[in-house]
Symmetry: C2
Subunit: 455 residues, 2 copies
Amino acid sequence: MSFLAELGAALPDGTVLTDPDVTDRFRMDRTTWLTPGCPVAVALPTTTAEVAAAVKVAATHRVPIVPRGAGSSLCGGSQAIDGALTLSLERMDRIVDLDTADELVVVEPGVMNADITRATSEHGLFYPPDPASRDFCSIGGNVATNAGGLCCVKYGVTRDYVQRLEVVLADGTVIETGHDTVKGVAGLDMTGLFVGSEGTLGIVTRAMLRLRRRPSGAATMVAFFPTLTAAGRAVASIAGSELTPSLMEIMDRATVNVVEDALGMGLDREAASLLLLQSDAPEPLRGTEVARAAELCSSAGASYTAATEDPDEAEALMQARRMAGPVLEQLGELIWDDVGVRRSRIPALLGRIEEAGERHGAQVQTFGHAGDGNMHPTLLVPRDDPDARRRALLAFDDIVEAALDLGGTITGEHGVGSIKAPFLEREVGRANLALQRRIKRTLDPDGLLNPGRWL
Amino acid sequence: MSFLAELGAALPDGTVLTDPDVTDRFRMDRTTWLTPGCPVAVALPTTTAEVAAAVKVAATHRVPIVPRGAGSSLCGGSQAIDGALTLSLERMDRIVDLDTADELVVVEPGVMNADITRATSEHGLFYPPDPASRDFCSIGGNVATNAGGLCCVKYGVTRDYVQRLEVVLADGTVIETGHDTVKGVAGLDMTGLFVGSEGTLGIVTRAMLRLRRRPSGAATMVAFFPTLTAAGRAVASIAGSELTPSLMEIMDRATVNVVEDALGMGLDREAASLLLLQSDAPEPLRGTEVARAAELCSSAGASYTAATEDPDEAEALMQARRMAGPVLEQLGELIWDDVGVRRSRIPALLGRIEEAGERHGAQVQTFGHAGDGNMHPTLLVPRDDPDARRRALLAFDDIVEAALDLGGTITGEHGVGSIKAPFLEREVGRANLALQRRIKRTLDPDGLLNPGRWL
């Protein structure tokens, strides 16, 4: 039997799509500047058994598989591959179990990140990792890329919240990993191995996640700095204090100007950078914390600071940060970067990013997570301008090299995917990468899972 | 050349010990009820290159290797194996680098846990994971077992603090894993794979650890409960509140009585359990938090509560908890257990532990980490009483089975080692364990690293 006939026989009617008009929407992710391939088919399983069945048929026919969540990848991690089966988990979107006493939730991979917090907030709970894409990124993709977000500076990343996984391996075997409890050292940490493996080791079909008590509110501070060095001093000084901000975001001058053009909020266009900080500590501590943060910013040389506990004022400031991406997307094609360095090296990195943009005549805006050193230099390319795109990609490469020069990482939270593979060996080293490839071969001897990315 | 001759030639003079009188102290760990083997030799390398050289010689001669830190294992994880080379890391005890701005420290594996906090406290920093053995357990062993401790309820376990590792693989290859930053998703999480692998995948020769700002102090609360159910209600109620205790320990009646016998502190011998809680939140919040915790305990049915911000009073209460182990060790041989369940199942687990003790006529004291569901039922065996030991081991098995029945883990922080291997498949499942064994074979094809434990 042919692959498609066997796949069709193994899955319920309506689960396998082959009409190009219908499968087209599963080809691309948010890495719009890459050209995706054409899948041989798209499967839309609704149960773990169906995922396993599809994987078994693909394994028998040696057909590669691209696992796909909500398609919000910024690293080309879920783009279709010519001749491969795209296995979309979007129909597996149930919240299976909620244990409010132990603050655990069990979800299928197609559940959207923000829906977990929505479904648990009536119990006073939330799911901390909060990518800016939280409304349109799925938890399966979050697990695949060990996604971060804005509140990670206080609450950590996806890996810190995944207690258990159910995974379909390359031969269709289903395993369960992990423990109910934060502490649990029985056996190798297979959960951690799958988190961040970008669909190259197995397909996550279920996840048990830790939740946290939802804070009762937050206080917010904004500061503008005349130089990047002054902003760096402020970040270091806040990080070295007893304050525990739940958010500490930075935007460079270019980003501030783009946002100000769009929103007209009265942001200081001359400042070298804007720092946005929140504290969600219990009252009255949160007010004290943002006031103290404002003092530390002033001491570090801020030209302006303001603190507020008013939710509407805070929301307006948060909008300035959250809209950076969407506003830029209106202006042209975006090439998102995602590098990380030790916090103390942020000013050096920001300087190197500006230089890279100038060197190649590329327009780069940088914003990101100052508290954990994870920056998103984002290159803006006018539509239908191949030369501008070429120059932007040269700047992109230089920015990644700059992060490596500073001892940092080529990707803090977006993933390696298709776009960072050339840089991976320089970061992790030849012997470590060779070992990772041996582990990949152990789990996926025929190389069928998300091939041609980085492993 | 013989193995010993070649090993001796590969390492500096004085680095290889073979005299049984001298090697004897490297045979045993704190799992005193197991009989250790006799090593063919003990190597005491002082550099990564020497570790790699020793591993290469052992690999050539197919001689198994038992990596050993400070020998404080409670699961038989570092006990000598007949004919194996014991590779002690105790001479690799340097703090290599301290970056106070980015709160990172690089250490060799033989550094004692508490020495890291000692060496960094003058900079206002500390290393959170704090096993009760912190003064005599090494960081290499902590990494090998993903060690926990008292403050994990707020600060997490070893895995949450390991940024990078240098590891010597089974063939003597040296790799570096990890990232400088909390966020970093370039490649598989090899750091996480080695953390908790108990010396079965490689030998850690260096670790970069995250530090945290040292809190300025702590407030303490103690409560006594007439029933285990009431204590369970209090734990659930505190966990479901906005409080963020930095410590929440529980002791059962048997433990309270043993401690009271030794210390005469006036503890309530009739209470079913004692709950000890600390908050290290900034002032004035910490005082508010312990007062609120006391209220919640009273509402849950506590017969007595007291809160204090006085450091001496707090220290006396902490002594009651910390002395539980040492006091018990004076009374006989101890068989430590280490199981974990969801917080809400602690009362059920404590009940099952009491039953197991009664069923087999074994004396069991339980104390542990109520905030994260990790309990240490500790069996006390009169010295030179083989029948009591036999009965205690039957109770030990029943306790592990009880944790599994409750969906929990067979080991929260001590490790599988030699003693929990028979239970491992039941916890992790056949397919998952088979996969772990395949990964083990990939990294250590000849099975030379800490063989005969659990992988």
